[in-house]
Symmetry: C2
Subunit: 252 residues, 2 copies
Amino acid sequence: MTDDQLPAGTTAGQAMIELLWDPPPAPRRGPRQRLTLDQVVDAGMAVAARSVDELSMRKVAQELGVGTMSLYTYVPGRDELFELMVDRAWRMRELPDRELPWRGQAAFHAHEAWRMYRAHPWLISSNLWRMPLGPHVLDVQEDLYRVVLLTGLDAVTVVRAAGLIESHVFGAARAEITDTSVAARTGVTQDDYYAARAGFWGTYFSEQRFPSMLRLWNAGGFDADNPDGDWEFGLELILDGIERLAGGPGPG
Amino acid sequence: MTDDQLPAGTTAGQAMIELLWDPPPAPRRGPRQRLTLDQVVDAGMAVAARSVDELSMRKVAQELGVGTMSLYTYVPGRDELFELMVDRAWRMRELPDRELPWRGQAAFHAHEAWRMYRAHPWLISSNLWRMPLGPHVLDVQEDLYRVVLLTGLDAVTVVRAAGLIESHVFGAARAEITDTSVAARTGVTQDDYYAARAGFWGTYFSEQRFPSMLRLWNAGGFDADNPDGDWEFGLELILDGIERLAGGPGPG
DNA sequence: ATCGTTAGAGTACGCCGTACGGAAAGACCA
DNA sequence: TGGTCTTTCCGTACGGCGTACTCTAACGAT
C-alpha cells in the first residue's frame, strides 16, 4: 500500500497514532487526573458545536472548568485535539446492512456521511487536509471498501470509486453547510445579506455578460424544490456510473 | 434566482461586492497612495504562495515595505483581501474553444480548474465556504453553464451537473494538494512521516479488522501508476453520466 | 497661505497557541 | 512513618495575530 494513499493524520507522528489507537492509561504515580481524555474531546466537540472557529484551548478549558494548560496533560496540542474530535465523530457512524445489494449499502454509507457532516459541521470547516488515521475513520473506510468490492471491479477501480463516493459527499456537504450556517456564524443578518445580493443583481449583473445564468434562472434552474436533491443527484449519477463499469447490478 | 444558489462571498455585504466589481478610484484630495489595490492583492498572493498559513496582514505589509495598518486603506480587512486574491486567481482561467463538442469543453474547464488549484494551493486550504461573488469567478461559472447547456438538459439538471463537475475537481485537488505539500508545510520530514506510518502498519493494522483494505493492497489497488488517473477517472465517470442523461453526445 | 481631506503608520488591546517552571498531590520505598 | 520521585495542575509570559484608535504629514481646493 503506497503510504500516501490511505488517509493520514495531519499531525504525522507516532505519538498521534498512539493517542488515537492506544491512549495511555492514567499513571500510577502523582496526583490523580481530574479528567479523562474522553472528557476533553467531548468538551472540544461541545465548543466546536457552538461555533466552529471559537474552538480554542482556552475555551475548551473553560468548558471544563480547568486551567488552560491542564489540557496539555491530556493532549499534545490543539491540532491533536482536533484530530481526536474528528475520529470521535466517525465513531458514531452506522454501517449498512450486509444483506442489501452493494448499491444500497453504498448509498447508506453516503447518507451516513451526509448525516455526520450535518451533525458536525466543524468537520468541514477544518483545515484538516485529510481524515486522521484513527481507528473509527478506518473502520468506516474498511466497510466502504468492502461494499465497493462487491461490485467485482478491479482493485484500482474499487479504490477510485470509493474515493469518489466519499469525496462527493464531502463536497456536497461543504456547499450545504454554507447555506445553512454561514449567516449564523458571521453574524450577518439575513437582511444585510439579501440587501447586498440584491444590490449586486441590480447593479452589476448584466444580461450580456451572463446570458446562460439568466437563461437558467428564467427556466427555474436555481429553484431547488428538494434541498437534498442536488447532492443525491450527484450520488445517483456516480453510483450509476460505477454500476455500469461493473456491468450491471452485480451479485451482492 | 434563489439567492443562496449562486456563489456568494463569505464576507457578505455591499462593500465587498463593490470592491470586487468596482474598486474606488484614488481620491483627489489628500496625499497620493503609495500602492494600488492590485499591488496589495499581488503581495497577498506572493505571501500565500510561499506558505499557505503564513498569510497575515503583517507579512503582506512587510512584503510591500509598508506599515501594517496602511493596508487597511486599500482593503477592509484580512478576509476581504483573501476574497480579492481568490477572484484574482480565477481571472487567469482560460475558457474552452467553443468549436469543441460540449464534453470536450467541459473537460477543458475541469482541467483548467485543476491547473488553477495546483498553481494556487491556498485556494483550497482557505476557510472560504464558497467562492466569492467576484467578476472573474462569475465569468468562468457563466461559461461552464453555457457549456453544460449545450447538452440540452433541463435547467435544474444543468445547474446540478455543472455543480457536480466543479465540486469534483475541487475535492480531487484538495486530496492531491495534500499529498504533495503537506510535508513541506508542516516541516515534518519524510523520514518521520514514514516511520510513523510504518509503526502504524506494524502495530495496529490488523488483518482481521481490515480485510478489504488488505485485499486491495495486495491486489495493487493503491499503486497509482498515473497520478492524474484518480481524478480523471471521476471526471470521465461524471461526464459519462451527464452524457447519458442527455441521451448521447448531443449536437454541440 | 489656509483649510479640509486623506494616506501612512505607531501604539495598544484582546485574542491565540504554548513553553516554562513552581506548587502540591499522591505512590512507592526505606 | 518519612523521604523521594513522579506527575498533575496551572499561573505567567512570549510571540504572533487582526484591527481600533489616533496622530502626523501630505496634498488639492480655495
